[in-house]
Symmetry: C2
């Protein structure tokens, strides 16, 4: 491990909330934030304690040969009970966490994984794969009663970079590696995966692959899928590795069936990943728009050009205000370009011109060149947004302690759907929040990823709660949101995954021939039905 990464190992992960335990807002900060949200509590809920949970003895005992991989430690089990959605945090704060797994395993090899799966299959033990634990869709939380026990399969002991191919810019990486450790290993070679989801610090390569995570790039190769060159998958029925190929037309892509399978078909234990040279040329700018609809047209024009910005994120007025990118009611388009090949100033200037032609105002210069940014006011907006982006989940948890309902969700739809979709989410979720809580709610929108044929809107909802019932309020609002998405044939998830929370909408969205194929594949690969039961398919 490199020096830069070393200090992280001394910090403690929060068992109930986002990220590092020492990074949570203190009580005073919670109170200050809560004061901004009508209908919240006067004082923060106390930090939940594992000691207050009733954690019973495990319902099963692992065989002696596997005992060294498995722990029944209550603190470890509690920290593996849920992901990090708002509803997970709210339930933890209210002393109602999800089902706590009986055991947590830390395999160190494919053989370990296969042996654990075999034992679990024989004993009807549900196996819930666990990477960084950052799921916000109920992906790592067992729900149900059909299994004798629950084993959380924590892959983070498998975190090595096994091979590097500099000429082909690829690396063979174990699935349990966390984002910073991976980049630390690649940096000395001048290479980078350049996959930076918001969860970067607290999510693993295997999790990214299993959930088809959206990454760094706002256009083009937005998703981890395109960077996977080969996968190794361990299933109860067979283990196999796809060949390292830059591209192949031999039958349906084998990897694409496991990308997005969310642990329901098998365990991805390692992957050859496509890497890139670290970009030497960077430039970014922010463009303000008085009218959101003009900004949408500007973004569409940029997305349909071949300028390929790395960042092309549109914040509506509420989102821009929340992040400090704008305080005058403007929407803000954050544009960023990067390259290891050539300066990107011309591309940025061209994109800013397109945005101006659609009514945008670039208050900083369109600065080009090597070291990043224009130095103008644009940079402040870009920087403000970046800081807010990384800090946001911690603030969410602080607000949750104030009894607020704070959550995000994302979707994607074709351009013809986008304006009405965003309007109706704002109005219908806003109305539902007022009805559920008696208070007005904030419903903000940003576009995080854009495509020639559509975009991925990402919504933030901040509302007062219903004391003790905050997760139920969110479930009500989310159901309203899901019905709007369904009406517009917008996907239930652009990159957060399906998990268990999105099953109703996923089932409505999934075409029947694929549903039949997926069920058949599940039966063939997981004949005992122990792999992440309830995810994607009924247990």
């Amino acid at each position: 491990m490199s020096e830069a990464a070393a200090p992280r190992s001394h910090r403690t992960r929060s068992w109930w909330g986002w990220g590092w335990a020492d990074a949570h807002p203190d009580d005073a900060e919670c109170i200050a934030m809560g004061a901004l949200v009508p209908g919240t509590l006067a004082r923060p809920l106390p930090l939940p304690r594992i000691a207050d949970l009733r954690i019973g003895a495990p319902a099963v005992t692992p065989p002696a040969a596997l005992a060294h991989l498995v722990t029944a430690d209550p603190a470890v089990r509690a920290s593996h009970a849920m992901g990090k959605a708002f509803r997970d945090v709210a339930r933890a704060l209210r002393g109602r966490p999800g089902r706590i797994p009986d055991l947590v395993a830390h395999p160190r090899s494919d053989r370990h994984v296969a042996d654990l799966l075999e034992w679990a299959g024989d004993r009807a033990v549900a196996v819930v794969p666990y990477g960084g634990g950052s799921s916000v869709v109920g992906g790592v939380e067992y729900r149900g009663a059909a299994h004798r026990a629950v084993l959380s399969l924590d892959l983070t002991a498998m975190d090595a970079v096994l091979e590097l191919d500099p000429a082909g810019r690829s690396a063979l990486v174990q699935a349990g590696i966390l984002g910073p450790a991976l980049e630390d290993r690649l940096r000395p070679h001048g290479l980078t995966l350049r996959h930076f989801p918001q969860s970067f610090e607290f999510s693993t390569l295997g999790g990214w692959l299993a959930t088809r995570a959206g990454g760094h790039y706002a256009t083009g190769r937005t998703r981890i899928d395109d960077f996977a060159q080969s996968l190794r998958v361990v299933t109860p029925a067979a283990t196999g590795t796809s060949w390292r190929l830059p591209s192949s037309g031999a039958g349906p892509s084998p990897d694409r069936l496991f990308l997005g399978s969310e642990g329901a078909l098998g365990i991805i234990t390692q992957a050859w990943m496509r890497l890139q040279e670290r970009p030497h040329h960077k430039a970014s700018a922010a463009v303000a728009f008085a009218r959101f609809e003009d900004a949408l047209e500007a973004v569409r024009a940029v997305a349909q050009s071949d300028l390929s910005p790395a960042n092309c994120r549109l914040l509506d007025a509420g989102e821009a205000a929340l992040s400090g990118a704008s305080r005058d009611g403007s929407a803000v388009l954050v544009l960023g370009f990067e390259s290891a090949t050539a300066p990107v100033g011309d591309r940025l200037a061209h994109a800013v011109d397109l945005a101006r032609a659609h009514g945008g105002t670039a208050d900083g210069g369109a600065g080009s060149g090597g070291s990043g940014g224009s130095g103008g006011p644009s940079d402040a907006a870009v920087g403000a947004w970046r800081s807010a982006f990384l800090r946001m989940p911690y603030l969410r948890d602080g607000l949750a302690r104030m009894g607020a309902v704070v959550e995000t969700f994302e979707t994607a739809a074709t351009w013809d759907r986008i304006p009405a979709l965003i309007d109706e989410i704002r109005s219908e979720v806003g109305a539902a929040a007022r009805k559920a809580t008696g208070h007005p709610a904030l419903v903000n929108c940003r576009l995080t990823h854009v495509y020639p044929d559509g975009a991925a809107p990402y919504f933030t909802v901040i509302a007062g709660g219903r004391d003790g019932d905050e997760d139920a309020v969110w479930d009500e609002l989310k159901a309203v949101a899901e019905d709007v998405l369904h009406r517009h044939r917008a996907t239930i998830t652009h990159h957060h995954a399906v998990g268990r929370d999105h099953r109703r909408s996923y089932d409505r969205q999934r075409p029947e021939p694929f549903a039949l194929a997926l069920r058949a594949a599940k039966s063939a690969l997981d004949p005992h039905g122990v792999l992440n039961p309830g995810v994607l398919l009924d247990a």
Copy 2:
């Protein structure tokens, strides 16, 4: 149909060989070509005639309700018996075509397709989907004896553009449309799919999707997969349509299971396709290399840049000589850029600089700007290569009439494998040809598609034959080639598909978990096993 396409309807497709019957080389041209290949015949084989084939009565009769969709006309049946591989042409010339289907159906709706599948399932009739019939891998030829009869399901009556979404640059297109008709329909809107495989005139959208065809672009989105926004699939078990989405993270991609399924899982009847504005800016250049290995390094440098050439094809000395791109023993790199956004001269100049830095010589200028090309000698090389590319399949058939063995195959591998892979294909296939025929053979190579992590080499083999046994000679050479590919873990096909000819290698390449899933999906979607039996999986 637009005026531009109208004349085509007056021409006749060759039933036994490539393309238009009136475009085949005449006897004199065949003799002239044959003289260049040692071990060929003195005079061309006669053109095969359908009247000379023994075509029996169909073994089944369609039900009255479907009779209007189905023909038993011998000429139609004969023209649907095989694809257009060399081994298909050679067998036709020798009076040994593949199994002639009992019936040919021309459905005009999804309902027709579903009804035909239901009838076929009930009666154990094999259904072989047929688009343009340009398969070179035995994709449209029934082999086996497990079915009562064979129905060729010709989709070309379903050839409409049903909807157009200009804002989202997408169109809903029926699967049976041929390349030129599709572009004719899109041209008035300033849009293009820009998918131009060598078979463009004689292949359909459905065929491209079902085989994951490689298209126009040499880098980036090289494959039709990335342009499919939504698919409608009719299977014996269910019919369904994926949502139109620019991107989604909801489970494994449903479309990616049917892309590349080659008719074995269902019939793709229509698709929403992502389109593009027609490029206004074009520029191209050719760069010569004295040493092929230098050219490989140059291509790798360009592929690993973010310059994104539309064309980046490297011809080895033999291929360059054959196409007229070079006559001095040089390898030639053909670079082409295009854009609807901005002039591409800078990108071309940058790519040419990279090529020069690796030992290349650009004999034309790197000409930039709007109208295409530099006007220098480079243009002649580029133009020569383009003409030869489109004429090549006709010349192949002319040589086949001279008893030559003339075929191509393609693969893809990571950069670390490429030099040895190409060397060994040249030497081992060359040696096998000499052994099989007693004459030296030509084994040429070009790179057709390039990636940051590897490339797709495409090989052309021209050898003398063994009188009356030309297809068997090719099978021997191909088996040698496949073993070299397997040794280097190079894919059995970059874009020609698996079909029946590549089954041995595909089975060796396909990871076992995916094999299990694919078999299970096949059983669920095609319970009677009538869909393109033997393709991808055993019947």
